[in-house]
Point group: D2
């Protein structure tokens, strides 16, 4: 069993339930499944893998610091140089998983609002707004020219509300007003996530039905978007697009200390160092105050472009 | 006095009160001021001119097809190659006129919401969203870190709600929700306008305190944003960014027929005209020297994108 | 037969051999084929048409103002909303025609240099540089890592030399130096062209084996790139991307005078025409349904940039 | 005195002569100036500092792995949020230093060619091409319309030759052809540099008169551009725009080991670790093969924009 003290000191620095489960197991020396958490891994193809994590009760929720609900992680390999076929395969896979969650939380014709979070002017934060533009919206056609659509077409609308730093308005405040006015029955939110793994940058999608905290991926957390705050179910598509430099260096130091311990030098001091979370110290010493340093692949532009195609197609297939 | 029949047939194809007044006077052979309309022109400097049109009553409002209120047109010369100083001078002039209207409709500390209309992905429709990004928003700092601001700082927020075609939601519906939620006391809206004059493209600003119809400048009119629909005063900054081709040719034909009527009308003359290459003459009269005018589809960027794919693939297939 | 006087006064204002032939025939009242010119039209599919014009002798060359050689025009319909399949079909068609001309002028393994003319910062002039980036270049791999390529791979290199206004150097001077140094056996040049037809904007490709005059499409002609000036064959891919406003109005006036001549010419009729609002009629006849045509200065991006500064500063000064 | 063995093992991973001198002194425990190297530091203002390093002889050249010549480093503070005045001050300072080097290597009217290296599509590599566009070129005006220029105006041309990966042609090959053809007397090259310091990203300019190795800043070194290879003097403006992740982590580990040693745990093993260059190991373990990971500030776009203004103005002031 896990006591509260341990949970408090565990700082995951990742929003992926998948990674959190691994970190938690390692930190607590757990070999098998954690009580209250169900996991399942599927290799779909050479380039595609799906991991499903179900958080079943409050205890498990506290352990991972994530609400009770479904978390599906889709990992794509070599997305940077993906062919048209790979992109299509990934989009179809995303669509299948997404459709299951949509059907779980809404009826076939319930109106949906798609929300792309992030700042379009900052490359690694632009995915949400970019996806929004590719969504096949129908709400205005249903209103003004319904004769052009098949009967039973779902009402779809889409918005990119911008970020607090340029609007001065909390994302929740903007969305609350719009939801009250146009009354969708389900929200699908796309946002950047924090991850610990460089390989996952713009190559992984986490789908969850537990809402989202905007800006988590870029280190500025805001009021959460969820059924509690908005009154309708919120499905989130989170994509890691950057890794914080201090996280990277911290991970590297941990590996390094481990190496020191394994090879010869185990001693109390090193143990102590390892226990300590050096993140803040590293952050302070390495990172000049005025900058937000991020680690990205040089090919981030192409990655974002391909990921936009995957996510936009995946959503369009799933909702129509 | 102007009868209703005339007014109905007058199709202005410009949103500038200044141009409408001129068209109306010409169409009705009015020499002096129109009853119910006050005008005033000021030469500010070599590069700057201001024209103020006040529509005072319903009769005049019907004549120009514009609500009762204030319309200030600022014309800037040579903005394309403007120096830092010219830009600053124009900004200060705009600021002065805008401040007067703001003070007329709100108190010093009343919260303001700035709204940039238009589609950032379409160059001539991107002005509104681009301006929004440059606004010094304070609302979030007042909420979270008021100690960093001087006492009495006005709350400013800014949003670019997107366009109906990509959101599926009327601009009015989006703004209504936000206004209800964050309760500003004044709206300042920036949008593209229709104008008849090529020289005014992106070189003229019309400030008015009578609201705005989104998308007027690009031919897709929507529900208007005004005190009637939003419950708070709406100051609009409208900037012409395109001229419709059919308007241009229509104007040109009118000039041409006038010339035929004035000069002579024999069949021979027409024959002669037809033989003659009028290109240079037209070029001279229509096209201000400093610009290279081009006719493009609004969708030129997408066209270029698709054509790039065709040509690049075509060459790659052919040479390998 | 065509006398020189007529030829001199014929100002085509199009670089498409296809359009020039039509204009020439009309101007000279020729019903059948022009002596020395062979033409052939092929409907490839619902969206694709090919027209081949062969200029066989000097007389015909003078008539059309184009060198002796091959001119293939590929017209694509609805490229703006083209599906992946249409783009692929068009690319394959282009590839087939291009391959024939390449094989006519070079051997299978002869090194090729691809040249993308134009200014990437000006949307309608950016096609050449954009294509260059998508070319699969092999020359550096053949030099440094030949083991990664199949034996017999053709050496391909690609360059976008920029435009005279920003480099201060004639395109011919830049290319001459590079051709002398890296010694390709064939040049493929991509550039914007002038056309008279709005429907052809970014929807037509002219392939020719007679070289090219850079900048013809945007009204700034330069020294030509051809076998004479560079010493190797030059295949040109020309794509119309803009129509000049004065050309458009001139064409429209010609149509209008024709109409006057055909229908009636009384002063009353002209008066009536003047009263009438011809806008809808002009709009219908000039503007293909699928496009929103706009007249903009070529410098619209800079204008928008400067205007953004003016408005943003103006608002910021006014509200703070 | 420094022996060759030491020099060989010193891997600087920076192109700044200033940083190399410091690393060399530290590695060899030198307190005072190195023989054959002259240094001078000037605080210009609150935001500006200049460091001049002169490498005087072959021995010193070997020590720092840099050719004999002049290296001037200009450090700018807070460039991200620089005001118009700060940008102007920095540009004037750059201009002064640059002018001195230009006068040292050319006469007042000698034609100059400006070369912007890098890939404009990759944000941190786009500085060179961006600066090129802002240069006031005169060569074409001197050729075609000399009457518009004052007598004695220097001939200035500018080119952005692209990168090997997209052209297939070595930068040296492209430039050799152009230099042979248009015969400038001096080359000014702008490129990205490698630096070890995050604070210097897009905030430092190194001016040198010893040529440049293209792509050094982004880890792909090519044939050098210098008087030896091009036949005319080459002044280089190098600007650090990224820091490699492995360099960052390596530096961090060094600091960490130092801390271990200082505080309690000095022992042979740690000493050994410190001696060892862990770079390759870190690079291998941290960085997936397919990516080039880079550390950039999130604000890199604004930094590049302001730096482009400083460099373009600095050059324009210096050469005209």
């Amino acid at each position: 069993m896990i006591n509260d003290k341990n949970i408090k000191t565990l700082n995951f620095r990742t929003d992926l339930a998948d990674e959190r489960r691994d970190i938690f197991k390692k930190a607590n020396n757990i070999e098998n499944d954690i009580e209250g958490i169900e996991s399942e891994e599927n290799i779909i193809s050479k380039y595609l893998k799906t991991t499903k994590v179900k958080i079943l009760n409050e205890n498990a929720s506290k352990s991972l610091g994530k609400p009770v609900g479904n978390y599906i992680t889709i990992d794509m390999k070599k997305l940077k140089t993906a062919s048209e076929e790979q992109i299509q395969e990934a989009a179809e896979n995303l669509s299948k998983e997404l459709k299951e969650l949509i059907d779980l939380h809404s009826s076939k014709e319930d109106p949906i609002l798609i929300v792309g979070l992030g700042n379009e002017s900052v490359t690694p934060d632009a995915l949400g707004p970019k996806v929004t533009k590719e969504i096949d919206v129908t709400r205005h056609i249903l209103t003004y020219m319904p004769q052009y659509l098949e009967p039973g077409t779902r009402s779809v609308s889409a918005i990119a509300p911008g970020v607090l730093g340029t609007t001065g308005i909390e994302t929740l405040e903007i969305l609350k007003g719009i939801v009250d006015n146009i009354k969708p029955k389900l929200l699908i939110v796309i946002d950047a996530l924090a991850s610990r793994s460089i390989e996952r940058i713009s190559s992984t999608i986490q789908i969850s039905d537990t809402g989202i905290v905007p800006g988590a991926g870029v280190g500025n957390t805001r009021k959460d978007l969820s059924k509690e705050t908005l009154g309708i179910p919120v499905i989130a598509l989170g994509i890691p697009t950057v890794v914080e430099t201090a996280v990277l260096v911290n991970d590297c130091l941990d590996l390094f200390i481990e190496k020191l311990q394994n090879e010869a030098k185990s001693n109390e001091y090193l143990n102590e160092l390892k226990q300590k979370d050096n993140y803040e110290e590293i952050k302070e010493s390495l990172v000049p105050n005025e900058y937000n340093l991020i680690v990205t692949p040089k090919e981030i532009d192409e990655l974002i472009l391909n990921m936009t195609s995957v996510v936009a197609r995946g959503i369009n297939f799933a909702i129509n």
